[in-house]
């Protein structure tokens, strides 16, 4: 049933919050543009189609691409969506507008510092660079302002989370017995997961990498800082995914003409992510020495169970979309797909993103397999995988979602639906070429993160087709993706400059088919879930970290001994955890 937006758009009801959303989106989209341009340079360079920079500078470009897209773009967009979602679902403005601007400002300052450090890598003799890539593994070292910028950015996100928790707390005072509105529930569970997970990288950056880059300490233990990074590096992918899931669960059904199939299942999924996102990081280190196979096996089983919330999401989201199709008159087992509003770029973009995620999920399942990891670790298969997931499931959903969200914060209509539709389809096609070729190239053994993967001593072999056609597909795909971003930015820019409209967008969100009243109240017990998440992290990480520190050259590597008190502390924790395990095992077995 069509409804007028009546009562004004979000920008009319919540002007301060709309301004925060616009600022967040602005920074996100500028980063997207620069990051995409860098991606184009890479796609043409590593395939030897067009080389306009030195191969040494490729790694500067790659660092910029990773940081600007996988940290700045995605997370600023998350901040915009979450700020919108909290105000909208609690129906109240943020507690303190100045505080909101403070976290935007802190994140922006951090971004600028880190970006300047990275771009400094293009200027010879400047003495400032950060050619360390998105993962910044020591002993590769960046200029201190790179690490300081990242630390400021992370602290900014912590403050953003506090902003939303404060809104929730204030709302709770007037709504004592109510279930947490779904969108706010998703924001809060995501942020708790983020607090748990950023702990690892914060420790690494603040206690090791910053002092080391400033010359205050002589060396760091490379395996330790790498492990602390991956403690954080896996959950960050859920920090990317969960805003996309928020859009798929709460917005996509409406875009399809339907209603969310099940609110309770959405809550269960987000709780599962809160619990399982962090105690899996070691699956990025299956081929690392210094970590026992048992810990890798535990990380694997946790990871395999982490497939569950995504598989459940597939069902619930597709069912919600199907509901829309059938409300629009769709019939049959598969014919109903034709009844969907494919002319709407917001719908089509999210639907294509979801379909592509199904493929990306599979290559992720392979990555999760402990021993099959030998086949694809550090090959081009890995970027093939994550361009389907963060690169499409997340990025394309964010772009498609923007077509629906931006008009709500500007009060203007989308400049062009056809260009929006062209943009999302072009992204999908470009990614089909590029990612498929990357997967096949990875199976041939072609490495990731390499400026010139053309070697003297040997040739890569591929059972079907040729290495040449794989390179062409990567170059072609990368070009289509870049053009798609140009179209997106153009459309959004002109939207924001457009005339105010009485009805810029249909922003009404219907009630779910199955509401929260049908679900156990314990789902809303955030404190309990946080406690369990913390326990799981301690179980997954204490012993491996203790091993890395005690047997692997100490806290600082380089043969420096572990300070006695720290060693004693770890012994205590390790003994406690081991005896707890043994007791539990004794009870269970």
């Amino acid at each position: 049933m069509a409804t007028a937006s009546g009562g004004g758009e979000f920008v009319d009801k919540f002007p301060d919050e709309a301004a925060i959303v616009k600022a967040s989106f602005l920074i996100a989209f500028v980063s997207l543009g620069i990051g995409a341009f860098f991606g184009l340079i890479q796609a043409l360079h590593r395939t030897n189609v067009l080389r306009v920079i030195d191969s040494a500078d490729y790694y500067t470009v790659l660092t910029g691409h990773g940081v600007l897209l996988a940290i700045v773009f995605t997370i600023f967009f998350l901040c915009g969506v979450f700020h919108w979602a909290v105000a909208r679902s609690l129906d109240r403005p943020a507690e303190n507008a100045l505080f909101s601007w403070a976290w935007v400002g802190l994140m922006t300052t951090g971004t600028i510092l880190a970006t300047v450090a990275i771009l400094g890598g293009f200027v010879p003799n400047l003495g400032m660079s950060a050619d360390v890539l998105f993962t910044f593994y020591a002993p590769l070292q960046a200029h201190p302002i790179f690490y300081i910028g990242l630390a400021m950015f992370i602290v900014g996100t912590w403050l953003a989370g506090a902003d939303w928790f404060l809104s929730y707390r204030a709302w709770r005072q007037n709504h004592e017995d109510e279930r947490i509105p779904l969108q706010t529930f998703m924001v809060l569970t995501t942020m708790i997961m983020w607090y748990v997970s950023t702990l690892g990288v914060a420790v690494s950056v603040v206690f090791f990498l910053i002092p080391w880059s400033l010359g205050l300490i002589e060396s760091v233990n490379p395996l330790l800082t790498r492990t602390l990074f991956w403690y954080f590096g896996h959950p960050i992918v859920y920090f990317w995914l969960m805003p996309a899931y928020l859009l798929w669960y709460t917005v996509l059904p409406k875009l399809a003409g339907g209603r969310l199939f099940s609110d309770p299942l959405a809550r269960v999924v987000f709780v599962l992510f809160l619990l399982l996102s962090t105690p899996v990081g070691i699956h990025h280190q299956y081929l690392d020495p210094g970590i026992a196979e048992g810990f890798k096996f535990i990380a694997m089983t946790n990871t395999m169970f982490l497939l569950l919330p995504s598989l459940l999401t597939a069902f619930t989201v597709v069912a919600s979309v199907e509901h829309g199709a059938r409300q629009r008159g769709g019939e049959g087992y598969l014919r109903w797909l034709g009844a969907l509003p494919w002319r709407d770029p917001a719908f089509t973009g999210m639907a294509l993103a979801g379909a592509m995620f199904a493929a990306g999920g599979f290559s992720g399942m392979i990555n999760a397999g402990m021993n099959i990891n030998y086949l694809i670790h550090n090959t081009l298969w890995v970027p093939g995988h994550f361009h389907l997931t963060v690169g499409t499931a997340v990025a394309l959903t964010m772009m498609a979602g923007s077509y629906w969200l931006v008009p709500q914060v500007t009060g203007t209509k989308l400049y062009s639906r056809p260009i929006g539709l062209l943009q999302v389809i072009m992204w999908f096609i470009g990614m089909v070429f590029m990612s498929n070729a990357m997967h096949r190239a990875g199976l041939a053994g072609i490495p990731r993160r390499t400026a010139e993967p053309q070697y003297q001593n040997f040739d890569f072999l591929t059972p079907i087709g040729s290495i040449f056609e794989l390179r062409v597909q990567i170059a072609l795909g990368g070009t289509l993706l870049f053009l798609s971003v140009v179209l997106f930015l153009f459309n959004i820019l002109l939207t924001s400059l457009g005339e105010e409209s009485d009805r810029p967008v249909d922003s009404h969100l219907p009630e779910p088919l199955s509401g929260p009243e049908g679900s156990p109240r314990v789902l809303d017990n955030l404190a309990m879930w946080t406690g369990i998440a913390a326990v799981l992290v301690v179980l997954a990480y204490t012993l491996p970290l203790a091993g890395i520190i005690q047997n692997g050259g100490g806290l600082f590597g380089g043969g420096l001994p572990v300070p006695a008190t720290v060693s004693a502390g770890f012994d205590l924790v390790a003994t406690t955890v081991t005896s707890a395990f043994n007791t539990l095992w004794g009870v269970v077995a």
């Binding site: 399809a256 199904a358 077509y403 009805r503 199955s514």
Partner: protein
Amino acid sequence: MDSIVGTADDGIVRELEHDDFDPVGTLVLVLIYMAILIGMWVFMYFVEFLGRGLTVVG
């Protein structure tokens, strides 16, 4: 051309409540997906991976 996004509701011809709707189309799609997953996993593990010569055995 009208560029109002999100107007799928305008195309609704019948309202389906909770009890009116069984996601049979979804079931078909996810079963197809499951079949693809199983097939691809078996291929990747037993042909691509175990089928390769040099493997770490100790």
